[in-house]
């Protein structure tokens, strides 16, 4: 990855490195900042703490008013019950498969389309771009029945392909990549073309290597969205084993009573890998967005 050789610059100050991380503070301590952030952080995190506590409670405690905070005896058995009530691992793999399919698809298609919209000239470019963005502007349920009919017609019900297919095409992703490519200086491209490269080679050899960080940002956003996607997979799958986790967890909602404790435990387990992914990738995500032409 060319990351190591690239540095951010502002056009007026070419060639300068990013803000260095200074260990010593300038104006006294940042204590007050920590206080503010910590308080805000508590507000952000509090519902999750409650979710964890709920997952370790009994249903009677959950369904009582006033609500019970600390369950007293921690019901670790709820976590074990998750695996007996759901084909958790199978659904986990379904989630992974559809997420990988959608993310990989979007990375390829959105970068290509984004590049074309940003850097190429062709008739109706503006019109096509407007059409692409317009799909974000109708209620998503509009697509439910038509997409179902297409997927059904292709015989893809209950398959990873069927669930993933519509999500491979993304207006948001195209928009994101387009913004990035717009920010790349013309000179690079001109130089490449002067050397005789055709547009695909320019894309492949010059543009794409630079886009690594942007693609990282698109990755995390798509992964998040796909992981929690609920209604579409629920409609397209008719077997628990072909559902992704989000849909599987939703099935805990019974008609009149819901096993909230196990449901919260399952949600916590499902959220963990993504959180982990974010913790690991967050540096790249910030860097990615920094370089993604959004500035």
């Amino acid at each position: 990855m060319p990351d190591a050789t690239l540095t951010t610059t502002a056009p007026a100050l070419a060639g300068r490195p990013t803000a260095p991380r200074r260990r010593t503070s300038r104006h006294g301590s940042n204590a007050w900042a920590h206080v503010v952030l910590a308080v805000g952080g508590v507000v952000m995190v509090f519902p999750f703490v409650w979710q964890l506590l709920t997952s370790l409670s009994t249903n009677a405690q959950v369904m009582s008013v006033p609500p019970v905070f600390w369950p007293g005896e921690l019901q670790w058995g709820n976590y074990a019950e998750v695996f007996s009530k759901l084909p958790f691992l199978q659904e986990f793999w379904v989630s992974v498969s559809i997420t990988v399919a959608r993310t990989a698809g979007q990375l390829v298609l959105c970068s290509m389309a984004g590049y074309a919209f940003a850097r190429m000239r062709f008739p109706l470019r503006g019109v096509l771009l407007a059409l692409v963005l317009s799909i974000l502007m109708v209620p998503s349920q509009v697509y439910l029945i038509p997409q179902y009919q297409i997927v059904n017609g292709l015989g893809w019900l209950n398959t990873v392909a069927g669930i993933a297919a519509p999500g491979i095409f993304s207006a948001f992703g195209t928009f994101l990549m387009m913004q990035f490519f717009k920010g790349v200086p013309d000179s690079l491209e001109e130089a490449a073309r002067l050397d005789g490269a055709n547009p695909f080679q320019v894309f492949w050899r010059v543009m794409l290597p630079l886009a690594g960080p942007s693609l990282g940002a698109l990755t995390i956003i798509t992964v998040l969205w796909s992981w929690n996607d609920l209604l579409w997979p629920l409609v397209v799958s008719t077997r628990a084993e072909s559902m992704p986790l989000a849909a599987g967890i939703a099935t805990f909602a019974g008609r009149t009573t819901t096993d909230y404790t196990v449901m919260m435990a399952a949600s916590a387990l499902a959220m963990a890998p993504i959180l982990l992914l974010f913790v690991v990738m967050q540096r790249r995500v910030i860097d990615g967005l920094a370089h993604s032409g959004l500035k």
């Binding site: 610059t9 502002a10 007026a12 300068r16 803000a19 260095p20 900042a33 805000g40 507000v43 995190v45 519902p47 999750f48 979710q51 709920t54 008013v65 609500p67 290509m112 389309a113 074309a116 190429m120 059409l131 317009s134 799909i135 974000l136 502007m137 209620p139 349920q141 509009v142 697509y143 038509p146 297409i150 095409f169 990035f180 920010g183 790349v184 200086p185 690079l188 491209e189 001109e190 002067l194 050397d195 005789g196 490269a197 547009p199 080679q201 998040l224 609920l230 967890i249 939703a250 909602a253 919260m264 959220m271 959180l275 995500v285 860097d287 967005l289 370089h291 993604s292 032409g293 500035k295």
Partner: protein, 324 residues
């Protein structure tokens, strides 16, 4: 804006990596791309996406447009009725309510942007530690599963036993049944919406902050500018492109409000009629009352409204967004 080292090395990358093909299209003369259309290349790049977009998204929108001119019951059987659905919609008081509610929701969620700017700048302070930890904290709501989130917030907002009202009770305020009273319900839903999307805004604005060269701050402080002045004159202007992006996305998402409403309030909620959003109106007509032609008209109206608002935003960006 650039993200590339300006050293000549980068410009040499292409030929240095192997072939410098003098292909038929490349040719020697610098005649090609800059002076007209790019030939067939755009087709290669754009076609896969356009194919999928047309098949899975645009075609359904066209169909919806057609259905909006019909009367379509639950299963099959459309009869052409022309503009009748739209006329009915124009007379429907629920449409106005839904528009207002959606706007209010979006406005409150947009308040998250200044908050996110503040938080991001706190995280960006020189010598600030544990930034990674804080970032994970603030991003968690965005990662969470909506069902779990809704359940916990319902408990927080509960009129009789929720901790919000208990806290208010300490200072002598008798809190309402937040999610079941018109007006308050919208505020409650908006707060949760804001809480959820804050993380996204913080991440994007953090990235934007990192691209502002510190030399500008140094120069400003050398000129005697206070921290606040620096924030106003250096940070804010250079952050505007990120703010623009977040704003556009937040508005578009705001208009899609539905899942949160449904999860926090439930269909049979007495306040639902006054709190419904545009998409809820659509869902109600399409799937609950089985009036799919009418629902299609609603969808078309939503498209119009959001399209207009987005267009407006793009036009107006010239006024306040500074691309460095």
């Amino acid at each position: 804006m650039t993200s590339v080292d300006r050293s000549p090395r980068a410009g040499v990358v292409a030929p240095a990596r192997g072939s410098a093909p003098r292909t038929a299209t490349g040719g020697a003369a610098p005649r090609g791309p800059r002076h007209g259309y790019d030939g067939w290349w755009p087709v290669l790049f754009v076609l896969p996406t356009m194919f999928g977009v047309v098949l899975f998204y645009l075609w359904p929108i066209v169909q919806t447009g057609y259905f909006s001119l019909t009367e379509w019951g639950a299963f099959g059987g459309q009869t052409w009725v022309g503009l009748e659905n739209y006329q009915r919609l124009a007379r429907d008081p629920d449409l106005g309510t839904a528009v207002v509610n959606t706007l209010v929701y979006t406005a409150i969620v947009l308040l998250g942007i200044p908050i996110a700017m503040f938080v991001a700048s706190l995280l960006h302070r020189p010598g600030m530690r544990f930034t990674a930890f804080y970032r994970v904290l603030y991003f968690m709501p965005y990662v969470a599963m909506p069902t779990a989130v809704a359940m916990v917030w319902r408990l927080i907002f509960n009129g009789d036993f929720g901790i919000l009202n208990q806290a208010l009770g300490v200072v002598g305020i008798d809190g309402p049944s937040w999610t079941s009273t018109p007006g308050f319900a919208l505020v409650a839903v908006s707060v949760v919406g804001l809480w959820t999307s804050l993380g996204f805004a913080i991440i994007i604005l953090s990235a934007g902050l990192r691209t502002i060269p510190p030399e500008l701050y140094e120069a400003a402080s050398l000129d005697g500018a206070s921290a606040w002045r620096q924030f106003r004159s250096v940070t804010v202007p250079l952050l505007t492109p990120s703010v623009f992006f977040v704003t556009v996305i937040t508005v578009i998402n705001g208009f899609q409000l539905f899942d949160l409403l449904y999860a926090l309030m439930g269909q049979a909620n007495p306040a639902m009629q006054q709190t419904q959003s545009l998409v809820y109106l659509f869902y109600n007509e399409a799937f609950l009352r089985n009036d799919k032609g009418f629902a299609a008209a609603i969808a078309m109206v939503i498209l119009l409204i959001v399209g207009a608002v987005t267009l407006l935003q793009f036009r107006m960006q010239r006024r306040w967004v500074t691309y460095a």
